[in-house]
Symmetry: C2
Subunit: 201 residues, 2 copies
């Protein structure tokens, strides 16, 4: 990483924190500059505009998500293992690493416009399609009952991504425990443990 | 309803639409006044401040939610019926009636401060406790397996409330179908239909 690249990364990470704390619309470039220990002119040397900064934060958040969640989960050939691994990794990303870039993606889902919006949305849609395909494959292989893949995908996403709104790392509920509980809830359901479960590989 | 009350209601509903479209922080009282067909002075005759307006929108959204979801669902003595009815009603509230007041509650979850925030949060927490108690009761009566009631409640909420972010009433997926699918997904799980289900009343 060059020095300019590492300054840019520091700006992106710091701005994500500022936007999380104050909200994007309520934050000015002065606030970001101050939090970075830069002058406003110094900040504009690296970043063209607040919109550009929001796009860079969301792009970086998607990089982190794809690297830590999507890519490793996709390696499982078995569609249920793929989904379960994906759910646990996504929960851990939101709780353990507390990625504020991800929170900015989730909260400012409607803020970017034009080409920047299209580019982030394309990456989000790739995640939705990844989930839908895994649900379809699990149905075809008779590992789960017939469900609407779109509803299943967005139910999975809602359960997992809502975490950014309520989870506090106060130690009562550990990230690992939450990941396990949510996996069991989503994949094994609420059926009593004494009853037979779905087919396991 | 007096004339002043009905004007106030109209302001609250219109402002909810403005805040949904433009975002709360990016909206000015001019925008709200214009959308209501009022002068800014006319608007301030009814509402003290933008914060006051946000509080009134969220209060009205909670009224609608409690009347259409919580109160009727609470009438079921059977804890699973209570939870299932609650889930379906909440999905329908978010999709069919497209209540923008509810979207403002969900999106601006971190915006209110002080007493206003405490009052809205107390009503939200009542919903969480309602769900946790129903899960606990269902466990006690051995209707479902042992789960962490907090995780179950927030998983239920995430699945359902995320709808405001992705659902478009384009006719492909009807509100009723979505409500049925989500209920089945959450309560019956992904287990194959040929396997025995959990105990039914």
């Amino acid at each position: 990483m060059t020095r300019a690249e590492s300054t840019r990364r520091r700006i992106v990470v710091t701005a994500a924190r500022v936007f999380c704390e104050q909200g994007y619309a309520a934050s000015g470039m002065e606030d970001v500059a101050r939090a970075c220990g830069l002058t406003k002119a110094g900040l504009y040397h690296h970043i063209r505009s607040k919109e550009q900064l929001l796009f860079e934060i969301q792009s970086y958040g998607m990089d982190v998500f794809e690297e830590q969640v999507l890519r490793p989960a996709a390696e499982h050939a078995h569609p249920l293992r793929r989904l379960e691994d994906c759910l646990e990794r996504n929960v851990l990303l939101l709780t353990k690493r507390r990625s504020q870039e991800i929170a900015v993606i989730l909260h400012e889902h409607n803020t970017l416009k034009g080409d920047a919006r299209a580019r982030i949305n394309a990456r989000k849609k790739r995640y939705v399609r990844f989930l839908e395909q895994a649900f379809r494959e699990a149905m075809r292989r008779r590992l789960i009952r017939r469900v609407n893949p779109r509803v299943a995908a967005f139910s999975f996403l809602g359960m997992v991504l809502w975490i950014y709104k309520w989870f506090r790392s106060d130690g009562v509920l550990s990230p690992e425990r939450l990941a396990r509980e949510m996996r069991a809830l989503f994949f094994d359901g609420l059926a009593l443990e004494t009853q037979p479960r779905r087919a396991r590989p």
